[in-house]
Symmetry: C2
Subunit: 91 residues, 2 copies
């Protein structure tokens, strides 16, 4: 499912104009991104949370070149499904 399909589904559920829904949609995800860029976590009740995790620099082994390489510090975004959302079907 992509953005347009979600906007269509939301328009059917809320009877609101697609133009307004698209405006709110973009602004929500822009706000979430701004938050993650400040490495602040985002907690959405009944849905889940997005947190920025920092992985320390570490040694890695490249099996094809058989060389030990130094991997730099890395940041990744973790998504965790809210318990209530998980109870439905996805464990």
């Amino acid at each position: 499912m992509n953005k347009q399909q979600i906007i269509k589904a939301v328009a059917e559920k809320t009877d609101m104009p697609r133009k307004d829904i698209a405006k709110v949609f973009s602004s929500i995800f822009e706000t979430i991104l701004e938050c993650l860029e400040k490495e602040e976590s985002v907690r959405l009740m009944n849905f889940g949370s997005l947190t920025v995790k920092t992985y320390k620099p570490r040694k890695g082994y490249n099996p094809s070149s058989k060389i030990v390489v130094q991997l730099p510090e890395r940041k990744a975004i973790r998504f965790k499904l809210a318990k209530r959302a998980a109870l439905k079907k996805l464990k």
Copy 2:
């Protein structure tokens, strides 16, 4: 950041009534959850994608009890940041 704070930020950006923003907000994430429950992936341009990953049953080792246990099949939701979103600050 939580749902109310995001709605407040979106209201400031879009000048739309909070009531409408809250309605769209809930409906967007409800739609995304319905999609994930059907194990369909969600791809949001300039933001990221949410996909359901299935982990096969496997043997696990419990270091405290020193017993090998059979772990059942497990499903988890993976979030991947869109490249364009990642270019800003988060690698």
